[in-house]
Symmetry: C2
């Protein structure tokens, strides 16, 4: 009885690359299945710590700022037993033959708590665990078929991030150290899934007063070169504390 | 095995009365213990439905807009077995003698999912269940000692509501149909736990453009009578969808 019965954690890890918002998926080593990195909670483990451990075990990522975003507890949530192989048989039949107690445990109704984090894709070194063939960064707008209700979990997470974007400055971990206003706008557009009016966006974002303006970015047409910016660490953190909204 | 093992729900129900933010507490029928209305999840029940059912069973309140705000999963969370009577004995020892299986089940490590809602105190008819002496509306700034980690749960909930206040217009359910700008400001101050500058608050709040201005409120000094307002249903709901922040 090492694990908390009927409860799991799932991690939605986002990165930003080639002006696309991407999410980290595991390709399972059976069939063509993709899944969020997730797993179980030890009986004597904080669920937040479980999320960190599971993410590390499954992907090699550690010390991320994982934030809880929702707990999924529909009675209809599928379990691993609902996964069928190409013959239409439950894939966990095989597991059942090897470890019937564990397989039985997996038949129970599961509630899962979702966590998300942003990472710098360039710096993220991935080491998939034994249950997976590989880890992939996939554009959130073009997700493959995901196991269980993981597509729903991703959509709910994006919804929460879009709300957060409205009251917090976006995580620095998604932008390079120096960036143009266009880079910021593209990032916001990728997350929100909509186009933003450039002049409005620039005015509102600059008004937050969390950026330091650097020299112009050198391009061919030097008179039209855009400014480079970086975050003012102190002001950025103060705004993180305070939020963007009414007060 | 009717209930999901190791998982509960707890409800933080807020109301606003006499310019104070209040929360609904149950006074247990053993000792001087106060608690949030909470309970267990049936094996075949959506956790959101469990929160509605538990709240109804324990307080008589139904059809509230209950919103999930956090799942508490510290391994150190106290259980009902940690409650001691005046002799220092576990209070659940007695339960154990009556129903040892249920008592044993309660010894397990529990994770709880918190839900909150706002209600109109004047309209809320309360019917406490058998485990409680009575239901009470208590000022959030003057909470009595709460069972288990319920004080922590209330604080975390207030934190989340303060964030929401920053990107959503506050729930109409907390204000009377017609109100003055001072009423709105007092409500915001009660939730945020800080004083706000009147001119700033009024300007920012009116700028949201979700109010309809009615005639002046008649007072003795009629030239200083404040305007009454009500929410513009359509604009209020549109803003609820959109949020207050950057975009």
């Amino acid at each position: 009885n090492e694990y908390q019965p009927g409860h799991s954690v799932d991690c939605a890890i986002f990165g930003y690359q080639d002006q696309e918002l991407k999410i980290l998926l595991m390709k399972m080593n059976f069939g063509e299945f993709y899944t969020l990195p997730g797993g179980f909670i030890k009986i004597d483990e904080h669920i937040d710590a479980a999320a960190q451990r599971v993410l590390y075990d499954r992907t090699g990522l550690k010390d991320l700022f994982l934030e809880q975003f929702y707990t999924f507890g529909a009675k209809e949530r599928p379990t691993l037993w609902d996964i069928k192989n190409e013959k239409g048989e439950p894939l966990f039949q095989q597991v059942s033959e090897v470890n019937s107690k564990f397989a039985k445990w997996l038949e129970n109704r599961f509630i899962t708590t979702g966590y998300f984090a942003f990472v710098d894709i360039e710096k993220a070194e991935l080491t998939p665990d034994m249950t997976s063939d590989s880890c992939h960064w996939v554009n959130v707008d073009h997700l493959p078929e995901l196991l269980l209700d993981h597509s729903f979990i991703v959509q709910k997470c994006l919804e929460q991030i879009r709300i957060q974007l409205n009251y917090l400055p976006i995580s620095k971990s998604l932008l390079p150290e120096a960036f143009t206003m266009q880079d910021v706008q593209k990032l916001y557009e990728a997350i929100l899934g909509i186009k933003l009016v450039r002049s409005n966006f620039q005015r509102k974002f600059l008004k937050l007063d969390i950026l330091i303006r650097l020299e112009k970015k050198m391009t061919g047409a030097s008179n039209k070169a855009p400014y480079l910016y970086m975050f003012d660490e102190e002001k950025y953190n103060a705004l993180l504390q305070k939020g963007i909204g009414l007060f």
